[in-house]
């Protein structure tokens, strides 16, 4: 048995008003009108699972997605990826030459009760027991940025990601959340 990471990226089928509000606030109230072209958002779950091989891990991932814990098929769709722990580069950054650049930012809480509840539901309610390791939940923000270079786009994404004052940053409050710029 090996440890695999299953990543579920869940997005709304309908317009995402949270992403739209974030985009409008950043553009209209925070001065990013000329550089921030679009904001999209996906909920990201990472489930650590014990499996015999990659195919089994993927099969388990499909079963998890069907539990309705993570995905409501009436309004959401899901993309599933599985990889052996420590080998995969999950949610890789898309880099187009010449821009605009899409930069991903994953925001998650230090203490997330929903992730704990999901883990416990898989272990106990659905009977996967000890095969289930840690479950993490976060939001993957995808910022489409007009910039001179990937580094410049990444710097802008950092500024947007970390809230340090009333006037700067939006996506993360570092006192309760952590973030990664991909």
């Amino acid at each position: 048995m090996k440890t695999y990471h299953i990543e579920l990226l869940v997005r709304l089928k309908t317009a995402d008003t949270v992403a739209l509000t974030a985009k409008n606030t950043l553009r209209r109230d925070m001065g990013y009108e000329s550089v921030l072209l679009d904001v999209r958002r996906e909920e990201r779950w990472v489930i650590q699972v014990q499996a015999e091989d990659l195919q089994t891990a993927e099969k388990l991932g499909r079963e998890f997605a069907a539990t309705r814990i993570f995905v409501n098929p009436n309004k959401q769709t899901c993309v599933l990826k599985a990889a052996e722990s420590g080998q995969a580069k999950l949610s890789p950054q898309k880099q187009d030459e010449g821009g605009p650049y899409e930069v991903g930012v994953i925001v998650s809480y230090y203490q997330d009760g929903k992730a704990v509840s999901a883990r416990d539901a898989l272990r106990h309610t659905y009977g996967y027991g000890g095969r289930i390791g840690n479950v993490e939940r976060g939001v993957l923000w995808k910022l489409l940025l007009s910039a001179q270079s990937p580094d410049s786009a990444r710097k802008t994404a950092e500024d947007i990601a970390l809230t340090s004052s009333m006037n700067s940053g939006l996506l993360t409050n570092s006192h309760s959340q952590t973030y990664i710029v991909l």
Partner: protein, 306 residues
Amino acid sequence: MSQPNSRIFLPKITKVASKTQKLGSSSSHKLREMKKIAIIQYPGSNCEYETARAVMASGMEAEIFRWNRDAASLDEYDGYIIPGGFSYQDRVRAGAIAAKKGIMRTIFGEAAKGKPVLGICNGAQVLVESGMIPGVNPGELEMALAPNTGTSGYYCNWVHVVHSTRKGKCAFTRFFEKSEVFPMPVAHAEGRFVTRKKGLIESMYDNGQIVLRYSTVDGKVEDRFPVNPNGSTDNIAGICNPAGNVFALMPHPERAAWLRQVPDDTGDEYAEAKRDAYGSWQRMTEAGPGRKIFESMREYLENIPY
């Protein structure tokens, strides 16, 4: 067909303008003398009317100020209340979007002049996200109101809080004695005061900024559910800025502003008074513990010129 009882339930709104809802006495002379409080209504706010009633009952004029009005006109008011609810549907993070709006920049400037600002529940989240609370370094994000622990979600119940700073430190607790315990309701999913800034909590204690803490009915601060309903650091329920004129409060004082709102089984003096008041509507309309928050605000405005 006549509906004889419907009159009882009509709201006491005396004027409704296109973008403004004024609530208060019809006496213009009285209005001129009364302090005028702006109650900020964001899309998703849902406690503005009962907050306005508590303000009026405390001898001030209340005006609901919609988010799409000219923020600069806020300087006409004597004080500000950001009420509870779900501003901008809690999108991104509770209070995060509202904190970025021009209204908060204006209130930030007015607070620096000494005007009182009260944030209740979602309003407290807005004050924290805008860096006005704790305000050790004004404008800097120094805390968060994180998701509750212990209940794993939204929690709504009556709790007790103990006044933990010296009398007179905070503009909104001037009528509370040190160590006074009283009941108020909480209703939130993200109410846990946390910080990762080393030494901040200690300096807040030194400054007298830890105003209210969740406690037992006897005033014991015990870090266990349901005494601490959300896992807040040091059982913190309410924090003021160093000057004492900005106050972020997770419980809802406007829902405890009349004795009739208070439960009769909380084991405190208000519960006893409620039981004694059964059968007397006049006694039921007497002030509840939350009224003192608003009366303190009025008293601050009348005695501290800014």
